[in-house]
Point group: C2
Chain length 347, copies 2
Amino acid sequence: MADETNKKNATVVDVARLAQVSVATVSRVVNGNYSVRPSTKARVTAAIQQLHYVPNVQARELNLQHSTTIGVVVPSLYNMFFAEVIDGIEGAVREQQYSLLFNCAKNDPQQEMDCIRALFARNVAGIIVISPNTAHIHADFYADVVKRTPLVFINNGWQQIPGASYVDNDERQGSRAALEYLIGLGHERILFVRGVNSDSYTVKEEAYRQVMGARGWFDERFIVNIGEGNSVSTVDRTHDMLQAAVQDLQPTAILCCNDLMGVGALNACQSLGLDVPGDVSIMGYDNIALSRLVVPKLTTMDQNMQELGRNAVQVLLARIKGGKTQHITLQNTLVDRETTGPCKGSF
Amino acid sequence: MADETNKKNATVVDVARLAQVSVATVSRVVNGNYSVRPSTKARVTAAIQQLHYVPNVQARELNLQHSTTIGVVVPSLYNMFFAEVIDGIEGAVREQQYSLLFNCAKNDPQQEMDCIRALFARNVAGIIVISPNTAHIHADFYADVVKRTPLVFINNGWQQIPGASYVDNDERQGSRAALEYLIGLGHERILFVRGVNSDSYTVKEEAYRQVMGARGWFDERFIVNIGEGNSVSTVDRTHDMLQAAVQDLQPTAILCCNDLMGVGALNACQSLGLDVPGDVSIMGYDNIALSRLVVPKLTTMDQNMQELGRNAVQVLLARIKGGKTQHITLQNTLVDRETTGPCKGSF
DNA sequence: CTGTTAGCGCGTTCAG
DNA sequence: CTGAACGCGCTAACAG
């Protein structure tokens, strides 16, 4: 009822005055770290209620010299992969009572650096960078960042920065597993579809060369590079480029570096009138929601994005609290759905 | 060279000491709001460089009594709709040199309120809530929020909170336009697909009833409710439920309340061996990336998510700077792609 | 043009 | 158990 229509938010001083105590006492009941006589505690609590008092975290952090905000930088929001990783991060961050400062670099190295700098100024306790563009950023830059604040990279295979932590997937092993699975189904003519501008494509291609080469099946022409691999247009470009490749090379299976390409491959086969998986088997990589939305549902390798995010938070927080840097590697697991099946021989 | 390996970040005091000036002078060159003799300015600048000094925004804001952080609350990240709106928000926020505190309510009203409270404690300058769950939250709650901080709702049709701002799409008009388009193509037997737990479905259904009723074509059975409409499983559930409905009712066109349902409808028709758009036309709503990824590409109504986000930021900032609340309504425009075509009569 | 000082909101000594 | 005073990093007001 005695509702203060005062615009300004209440502070410890206001509460102290109303409760007839000192600001120190207010602080004590708010934080509950020192004993306070029950009767005065009650008075303070009442005052807090009445004033709708909420402690100012900024002021507290300034005083305590320690932040409870962590920053995250992501290259784009247009690949669900990132959205799902962020979802994992956000959940873990909230559980720990931290807050999340969100920045999107829009696939631009310059903006990526700007984001990091902005985060510094905000006095974050640590930073998580998803799929950083380290190929286009001075190595010194992140080396300097690490001197200032704990840093965790998610899915960065390009270069190691001493002092940073890493949470990755073992995409080399995952790619091998995918290929072995296809081979187990009887496939030999396996097309490999990759993109540009990400180290992960290269890692996967190496696995492909090795597995196929060991069996004497490797053929350079079976590697198709469809260019930019992380945008919406990736699907269409894959669709277009693969129609020709499939007709020329007559593969019985196609392994794609991500699900966007996987869907593009699926569309291409359907445009060609081929049955999937009757005539040709298709595998994606990532297991983003999209892979479950198409018909037939895409068989893929799960990059467990949620876990990527949760692990990154855990590693970061451990580091913030004085622990060491870590390098966690998760295993990709195969999600067997509807686009793969036994090889029926040539078609 | 003289690289201070000191863990602590440099402060104005450090810079002042090194440059042999007072802290006030440092502040002046940093903010450039008062004139400083070029020679001393140079000394200060040099010291800043040498110390890698970055102003502490938290401290500045505490002093200035005004925040440059805005908070955003989103119900989920698993519908690309939200990801794209956030993308718009993030871009606009950065342009204005503000930062974004990100919170995900995971479709839970309780968590939605917790997010808002956490934002208060962080002393945000204002808050944007996307598709709030006002149906399950005390009206008082948001009424109180507005007393403390500027608030903008994106896509909230449920209830008006005095003192809040709104950025919406005119989904009523958009739905009418969609129907008129279908009718112009010769369709009369138009199935309407909706979900639960969002006011937007009801708005669209009203438009459907009105447009169809005016022509004497309305039939209650042509309204199909597929339940939860914003999750990944929405597509599958629509797929399942629509197969029966399409066989029973023999529609020549299907209007869906969002693209997830649109894709489900497309899958259903294809499972039935029907040609889209030859046998039946399908329209989605939203124009999320997914609508461009399926084959054939989905005709849909564009909710211009980017603009939703950018407008929300603009409205919020205007309010923060002392302006009035606003209510902006955007128009949905039709995106004519490959799932709609002229009605060939019954099939 | 430059230096000194007060105070933003808070938690924590240190005295009582 | 409680209160007074200090300082976190910064900017604005006021002197010089």
